[in-house]
Symmetry: C2
Subunit: 269 residues, 2 copies
């Protein structure tokens, strides 16, 4: 039975508003089965009701419209379910971020203010195996985790002797311009020139103001703020990327509160 429904009727049946249906037509997410050439009137068929319901559910899950299109166009159920799972795990990630943000806020508002101990340190140049890439700020956390995983995997199998804690270098542009070069590295005496995405790197010598950050990396901006304030007050800030050394991290313990990260701000004395 080919009952042609007006946009109003289709709206009542699917609980998608008329404006939304017109929008979905415009972006080619859900096209009316028929459009009258003279009047421009849209007509929908009853077959389209289940599709509309599915779209509603995907959108309830904040799935972007292009992702919904991909799901609807999936050639088989396995592909479709893979796309959905991918979105659900993105949601799960966001949820974890939000939960972390809640405790982070609580710590800021009610937690004790940890006294800041700043050490001024001169480090020599060291050799390391590193992954270095141009990264968007928004992707930094994901990139950091992936790159460190890869770095640790390739190092683990080959019996390299590490000559210090793992570290990271973060160009200022990452923070000021939302995009910049990020580096993760593990120090070793004689790194191979190339190993997967990793390359040999000389981590340059520097004078650094160093403070230890305790706890989750998501809270690191507090230590950055305190250390940056300290450096600004003393007026000896210098150019160059900030540096982090991961003294205690996920590889050592699952207890995030026990993590320790050295935040190193380049200075000129």
């Amino acid at each position: 039975m080919q009952t042609a429904l007006t946009i109003g009727d289709f709206s009542r049946i699917t609980h998608l508003s008329v404006k939304t249906l017109r929008h979905y037509h415009r972006v080619e997410l859900l096209e009316p089965s028929e459009v009258n050439e003279d009047t421009g009137y849209r007509y929908y068929s009853l077959d389209q009701v289940p599709t509309a319901q599915a779209i509603r559910r995907y959108r309830d899950l904040s799935m972007p419209i292009d992702a919904v299109k991909a799901v609807l166009a999936a050639p088989d159920v396995a592909t479709r379910d893979r796309l959905i799972s991918a979105h659900l795990s993105r949601l799960q990630n966001q949820l974890e971020q939000t939960q972390a943000a809640v405790s982070s806020l609580q710590a800021l508002l009610h937690g004790p203010v940890e006294p800041l101990t700043v050490e001024v340190r001169t480090v020599p140049a060291t050799t390391a195996l590193a992954i270095r890439e141009m990264v968007d700020r928004a992707d930094l956390v994901g990139w950091w985790e992936q790159s460190f995983d890869e770095l640790r995997r390739v190092v683990a199998g080959r019996g390299f002797e590490l000559t210090g804690p793992a570290g990271g270098l973060f160009d200022n542009e990452l923070f000021t311009d939302e995009r910049g070069e990020a580096t993760v590295f593990v120090s070793m005496a004689s790194p191979p020139a190339v190993l997967g995405r990793a390359r040999a790197l000389v981590v340059s010598a520097a004078e650094l103001a160093v403070a230890v950050h305790h706890g989750s990396h998501q809270d690191a901006d507090r230590t950055y703020g305190a250390l940056g304030t300290y450096v600004a007050e003393h007026g000896f800030g210098a150019d160059g990327p900030v540096r982090e050394y991961y003294l205690v991290d996920a590889a050592d313990t699952l207890d995030v509160t026990a993590w320790q990260t050295e935040i190193c701000w380049p200075i000129a004395t």
Copy 2:
């Protein structure tokens, strides 16, 4: 010490991007402590670092900028914490919505398709005590819960004898235009003219196509879709609001899967 930081330095210290800081200036969320009149250069003071960090955390929690302003302007800690709690419970609500949407999607994709049983019924006019208001679609669920709570509270204390299940009326504009009249009511023989937000109402006689929806109200659009399809196939749809009767709901059991709602579509035979 009044160290004046350029926007770039302040960005590095707070991890807010330069573009973001300019935006926050424009919307008066975070104004530089000094702006050079000739050059337009913004200068921030070190005192502003903690404020910037707090703003970052509120925004990490998706708090709207106006809400962040209100939090920062709160005259005392109690007010501030109340504003924050209000936002966190909004977040909590969203989270529950999302979780419901996930299982709703799973049910749509993998669940069995319940056979639809449609009953055509002629109901006489009945008297009722009702709350009726113009509501935005987005607020409908919250409005419905609140209004039902109020209705049940005022009814409970006064020994009215109910003459049928509680119900709701939903104007079509609610679904097509995102805004329309919604009504919740409890049937009784002699309702008082006014009681709080509630008024006496005659629920008009109607011919209805009725299907029972089982489970969460969030999934009700599936039954709406099936029933609307049925009505369209038979070509006997009529004007007038859709009607719901809550046969089994939160007042009866906490087991959502046991809930039963009659969805009633106006028809003309």
